[in-house]
Amino acid sequence: MIPAAVSDAAARAGLSPRDYGEACRRLGRDPNPIEALMIGVMWSEHCGYKHSKKALKRLPSDSPRVLGGPGENAGVVAITPQWALAFKMESHNHPSAVDPYNGAATGIGGIIRDVLAMGARPVALLDSLRFGPLEEPRSRRLFDGVVAGIAGYGNAIGVPTVGGEVVAESCYRDNPLVNVACLGLVRTDRVARSAASGPGNAVVYAGARTGRDGIGGAAFASAELDEGRHSLDRASVQMGDPFTGKSLIEATLEALETGVVIALQDMGAAGLTCAASEMSARGGVGMTIDLDLIPLREEGMRPEEILLSESQERMLLVAGREDAERVAAIYHRWGLAAQVIGAVTAQPRLRITSLGREIVDLPPELVASAPEYDPPVCPPEDLASRWGMDPAAVAAPAGAVLLSLLGHPDVASKRAVFEQYDHMVGVRTIVPPGGDAAVLRLLEAAPLGLALSADGNSRWCRADPRRGAALCVLEAAANLACVGAEPLAVTDCLNFGNPERPEVFWAFREVIDGISDACRALGIPVIGGNVSFYNEAEGGGDRAVFPTPVIGMVGLVEEVAGRPWTGFRRDGNVVLLVGHGGTTLCATLYEKAAGSAPRGRPSDPALGESAATLSCIREAVRLGLVESAHDCSDGGLLVALAEECVLGRRGAEVTMALDHRTCFGEGPARFVVSVRPRHAEELAAVAASRGVPVTVLGRTGGEALRVSPPESCTCGESIDLAVESLTAAWGGLEA
């Protein structure tokens, strides 16, 4: 029996009685109410990774290039001996569901500052978005609001949004997913850290002033502490200010340039509490902080409000006593607040004073390391029967199916979205959004470039989370291969339902294993990411989102000039299919478009063969053999062919079987490429040396996509569709 007083105290702090007991045990006493709130917020799933921490350790995270992996604010990977990239993805699902504009905008702000915290200049963003069916007004409103929020913040702060995804699926109706990633660049000898060190050093607050932002959203439902006074005035959502965010980037990079900043971190979720405890814990030191020195936006803020405020655009820094003023002056010049608020101490205690009274005295380690759970796992009962199902069948001829898939929101042009994003600012964008991966040039290491892609496919993961997750990694790598990029690193966002349900946690573990399988096979480290649980509406069960891992991948392009692009480039080129065959109609877009839930299992990722195919494409691109390349993803081979026609504004004459599985089946690492006739043989040789099958499909040219079955086969009716009609079908999605 838990005494009522204890469970009350636990509930006030948003902790389970068990966690509260754990906190008391570790502390050797009961925390006071403010301390309990701090622990409660830091031990929330969002900040504490209680359910996921152990499982995440299974992900492969090392590679000789990795300069900083999971655990830091963003992963860091060397590109050249002088330059490194920082890369991180994060979810902002719940805030975006509540307030799509502000939720998405602050998601962008937060991920930018995670990358900034590594000392990196943010140079690109990706946004991976999932909503319910877009014909439904509510989903539409969320979609419009989220895109506007990303545009509103990203455009103003001057970081280009160069890629992403938009997926519509009914499981996201009540739980839209907004995952955003940021890429930054930093000199290898200037990678910043978050570990505080050096007793006596100053703790510096910098950026926007602290207001009562987002406090209602944090773990404390403190009717008692709050006396109900502010609740009406107070916004429970955070509002971002990209203008301040931009100045914060410039000032922080300038401050880091002086070389006197010892450590820094964004004040994001759980605000000052999180930054101070994590920075101290990582450095094995303590801090004293005087709340009376915090720059405030509002009068009469209580200590716990200051400690837990999620006001945006703030950083916490550590610098030498005598350097602190210099650092502060840089922020002041940019019109930002900056103030020494405390000092680093050798003793690992976080001691916080307010009005001259000590109100908090906690070991940072305790606050920063939530308990780790080992939740039970159990595969869903119906798994075997689902796997035994045949795919849904559609009666229509292939041509009609093609047109309907091209118009499906998951496939249709995303121009209306990415034109709302400034994808060019920074003069780095060489391959803009609209094809497969985006390519940014490295001004600091010409002619090198970086390719970026964000990919998820929850239909596959719903059917078979392990295979599905591996296939998502392969898809990201395939998008990179289309521009000849060698993968350098993965960051991921794992979006799931309630982890306390054994099927959910089973799927979570399977997804981690699937990502690990594929990343090991391809030799790509997972350098960071984010977990979002509880994406399920009241009632749970089938109200949860499908298991949705989203893979952000960055790769190295050796020479940014002369990349192939997605569209057919000229008439008379040879069109080839490169890759191993294994496709299925199970759990495909074809099935989804037919209104069916995912049935059966997706294709085997065939990691060895897929890796060979990816390497073949990269090599062919590198050798300059390829004029256009596009991977077969949603909708399979025929959709890929049609997209190359649309984007290249020219037709093609193709011979292939026209049964639905050949046309629309999905499988790993398959590419439609077009090459000059004189290069066809060389490409075949590159493929042969890796044991990768190549099939000649036909030739580019004409004003229509004409597909006829080989003479030997009587499967399906020929297709003859004008590029104009394909374009009309594909151009549909208006944001």
Binding site: N155, F243, E419, Q420, D422, V425, V427
Partner: protein
Amino acid sequence: MIWGVVTFPGSNCDRDCLHALRHALGFHAERVWHQDRSLAGIDALVLPGGFSYGDYLRTGAVAATSPIMEAVREFASAGLPVLGICNGFQILTEARLLPGTLMRNAGLRFRCRPAWVRVESTRTPFTSSMRRGDLLHLPIAHGEGGYWAGAEEIASLEEGGRIAFRYCDPEGLASQESNPNGSAANVAGVASVEGNVVGLMPHPERASEALLGSADGLALFESAARHMALRAVRAPGRAR
């Protein structure tokens, strides 16, 4: 000659302009801070794009109150070239150094895409090396780029050769469809009475290398450089 590029809080194309001027064109270019009060030593000035002061109140309105803008005013009245790009254009109209104003795009959405513009006047330093009717492929990226001026004002701008650029289609026709933002008379850029102050919504600095998809933007900066060189020859005493 020395170019200056002004950084206001919230400017986000200042580095891109410096990059184009220094690396694509090989010019000497310096940063100018919004709180500076002098432009001594600068021969030609760029007000870059971005969201100065978050575009709050009206685009460019708060930046137009910056200390540097007094110096810009003097610089302009000395006949030296000033180019406002995107937010820089908005700042110049707010400072009333250029006529008209820029309104929300007619479609109410931010638009980032390549556009075609036609050179309408060669009276400005930034177009003096071009020919009327030349077409430039320049990207746009703005949410408030709809040029607005009263009908009489537009007519008088036209008369005075002060419409510098118009949006057009790839054939050079200033059609309704090629107008990306509802600008009056397809105006993409205008000039001051003397012609030395020019503002435009498209981004020449983003079209400064073939690798970026177009190098047409270079012509504006090269033209101004040539103009300054000629000016130095004609009036050596006034060269700076």
